[in-house]
Amino acid sequence: MADLSIEFAGIKAPNPFWLASAPPTDKAYNVVRAFEAGWGGVVWKTLGEDPAAVNVSSRYSAHYGANRVVQGINNIELITDRSLEINLREITQVKRDWPDRALIVSLMVPCEENAWKFILPLVEATGADGIELNFGCPHGMPERGMGAAVGQVPEYVEMVTRWCKAYCSLPVIVKLTPNITDIRQSARAAHRGGADAVSLINTINSITSVDLERMVAHPIVGDQSTHGGYCGSAVKPIALNMVAEIARDPATHGLPICGIGGIGSWRDAAEFIALGSGAVQVCTAAMLHGFRIVEDMKDGLARWMDQHGHRSLEAFRGQAVEHTTDWKYLDINYKSIAHIDPQTCIGCGRCHIACEDTSHQAIASTPAADGTHVYQVIEEECVGCNLCQITCPVQDCIEMVAQDTGKPYLNWTQDPRNPYREAS
């Protein structure tokens, strides 16, 4: 079987599956169970200054798909609500008992040099493998000038990172908030500050739903609510893009990335790695199913690597980055056309109405004698948008077939139709 072990920003772990800083890594009890279940590492629930944070009751809410499948979770929890001393003691013990696993300590203290100068040596003394700076928490903590309030200002990110590098010899991972407009600005700032790696994403500002009888959003605290942070499967596309943006930014070239956001299967993890991540972190999937999911993730990833001849994660890490580019460099001459397999078509008509009403009227519906309809693509009209394939409930029924147009690669910067094209 393929070797899943990694060395990420100088931190070794037997596999790339780490638990993100959150309830699953709240205390020794959880972390030990996670290590027993086979997780390669954990980022301990964010530590702060004493006195510890105090949480409200009723903390999470969810966005559901059909049949109560959880698409995403929203939470209004703060950082650790246990004292610094207890956390440090437990971290020390756990690291001693599990020397082969990665143990990273997440930190969030006020944006003052002394606060960092105080806490960093205490953390280093635990024997932990690294620190992660929580510049991402989008709720509660920013109101106190921490978390996303730091992460949203590149100058602060750079400054605090620099302090950490100065007062601590451990690898420093900067955890980025997605609640910004251009993730590259934050990553560049961390890089300038000397970060050994970045991790992303933290949660996204959200309100999942509203109780229409009580006229209050979820989660409800008394008769009020507040916005929280969104995570889980639904945020994966956003996280993947942000990872890719950093991976292909020349300014942060070579900066290790730890992918986080909506990872629940080996395939999700492989995708983050293909886009440049050297390790991944998981929170929501573990919160929904327990620690046992890591076994299925490790097994699936190793088998997929075997099938593709990848002996290590490095063998395919970042392979999808070079195929990710700016829109203007895409081949304007490339053309694909939908093809509906009549054998597997179940006649639901979804592709037809989607294309007819909202796209290019490229799927003909022909009534048959028995009252059903036959659906066929009008090739001249199809622009290859994929909408029909997306709405089709049958996997592999609609195939997007690449056409041989006989035309060479041409991108928008070269296209004669572009009034601002680059002179050739």
């Binding site: 299967s265 080996w266 395939r267 199913h289 327990g290 046992r292 999911i293 076994e295 299925d296 097994d299 699936g300 088998r303 997929w304 049958v394 996997q395």
Partner: protein, 455 residues
């Protein structure tokens, strides 16, 4: 074995038509069906289905892996608990095992997750290029396994996995036990039983010797002498008698004898077929027999049981299959007299009506007759004492007629273990036999290895 029926005609249907009628009773899932069905699993924790599976397969995990498009991982999960997971997926009465326990199997939801079908899907589509398990370093220990049925094969595989050398002694020409010779043909089709054995042997370190019969050319004493441990997976090979005169008349035979021929026949149109037949019994074997006759083309198939529907060994699912195959079920009637024609062949049976009087089965005094060209008895298998005839074997403690074992599958003789149908533990099911074999192998391994440490 079907000689007592030689005077009967052959089926009218062509061989290819018959082959079609004996194809998969439950056809395999397609990729899409498997995707939809696997997504229905709730991935329960401490899942009730695992508890209900005699071989303790981690069902939520393997289904999760199917959903994750990791079929080899799913297959490995199944096989690590049950090396005959492929045949179990086909023959297990899931309606009383895993699927019965599925949390979706309740009145508020439509149906349990189709666990058996998904298990088959994973194993059929894993396409391993090499055997998925590696043997531990050789221990130098040698173990004798008697019987190459599910119990013996499962035990042999687990022992080989732990690095032991295994010799399997088997009386029949082919391995597989009742998977090869007993299961209804439409449940385990084509040569699956043999292919599965070949896969299992792929681990290495297992030799099967055929034509070796304990109590015949093999004695327990010599096995104990020559091997570090012995496992007995003998099954139940004796046929129970109805206890009636004329029980050996042409036209009357044990259902298992007919099924054995039916499973081995290349051309089903050459089998003797009774146009009107009677099956005595109410277990799954009785149902299998009746349904198979019906599919061969019998016009009139009657199944007669001395008690009521609720007491039948056959599950509701099996009874429904019987009804769908035009089998008539008669209850509360007991065989009374075998009726013969002038040539001395079976022409029917007289039954005495029965009733429960103060908790005891008794005759009502009424009788009735059913015409039949053949009568099949399916009133349960018995333990074949001939296997334990030698002096060492005769010492084995019994529980009823079967071999007594403890929870670690140990018999009363040190170093001798037993499992499967020949023991009194658990149900007579393939999956139970597999579990017994596995547990015995673990116990043997633990025992032999502690001896090593102590030495």
């Amino acid at each position: 074995m079907t000689d007592p029926l030689n005077h009967l005609p052959r089926p009218q249907a062509r061989a290819d038509q018959l082959a079609e009628r004996f194809s998969d009773l439950a056809p395999p899932l397609t990729a899409r069906q498997a995707a939809v069905e696997s997504a229905r699993c709730l991935y329960c924790y401490d899942a009730p289905c695992i508890n209900a599976c005699p071989s303790e397969i981690d069902i939520p995990s393997f289904i999760h892996r199917i959903s994750d498009e990791n079929l080899q991982g799913a297959a490995q999960r199944i096989l690590s608990a049950n090396i005959l997971g492929g045949s179990c997926a086909r023959v297990c009465p899931t309606e009383i095992l895993c699927q019965q326990a599925c949390v979706r199997n309740n009145a508020q939801e439509c149906a349990p997750v189709l666990i058996g079908q998904l298990q088959r899907y994973a194993l059929d589509n894993a396409h391993f290029t090499e055997h998925p398990f590696r043997r531990s370093p050789a221990t130098g220990k040698r173990i004798a396994v008697v019987g190459a049925g599910p119990a013996g094969l499962s035990c042999a595989h687990r022992l080989a996995l732990h690095g032991h050398e295994v010799v399997v002694f088997e009386a029949s020409d082919k391995p597989g036990g009742l998977n090869e010779y007993g299961i209804a043909r439409y449940k385990l089709v084509d040569d699956y039983a043999q292919r599965e054995v070949a896969f299992l042997l792929g681990i290495g370190g297992i030799e099967i010797r055929h034509g070796q019969r304990l109590g015949g050319n093999l004695s327990l004493a010599s096995l104990r002498e020559q091997y570090d441990a012995v496992f007995l997976g003998l099954g139940l090979n004796a046929v129970r008698a109805l206890g009636l005169p004329d029980e050996h008349a042409p036209g009357l035979l044990p259902a298992t004898h007919y099924i054995r021929e039916l499973r081995q026949a290349d051309d089903l149109s050459q089998l003797p077929l009774a146009d009107r037949c009677l099956v005595i019994g109410a277990g799954n074997t009785a149902i299998d027999m009746a349904v198979q006759m019906s599919r061969l083309g019998a016009r009139d198939v009657n199944l007669v049981y001395r008690r009521g529907h609720a007491d039948m060994g056959a599950t509701d699912h099996e009874q429904a299959i019987a009804k769908a195959n035009q089998v008539r079920l008669h209850t509360w009637a007991r065989p009374d007299t075998v009726l013969l024609n002038e040539a001395g062949q079976v022409r029917g049976m007289r039954f005495a009506r029965t009733t429960l009087a103060e908790g005891r089965l008794s005759d009502t005094g009424e009788t009735f007759e059913l015409a039949a060209d053949a009568i099949f008895k399916a009133i349960g298998q018995g333990f074949d004492d001939a296997s334990l005839a030698d002096p060492a074997a005769a010492q084995l403690a019994r529980e009823g007629e079967r071999i007594r074992v403890d929870a670690h599958m140990r018999t009363s003789l040190p170093g001798v273990y037993a499992g499967g149908d020949c023991t009194a533990l658990g149900q007579d099911l393939t999956v139970q036999a597999v579990q017994h074999g596995k547990l015995a192998a673990e116990a043997i391994h633990a025992q032999l290895m502690t001896n090593v440490e102590a030495a």
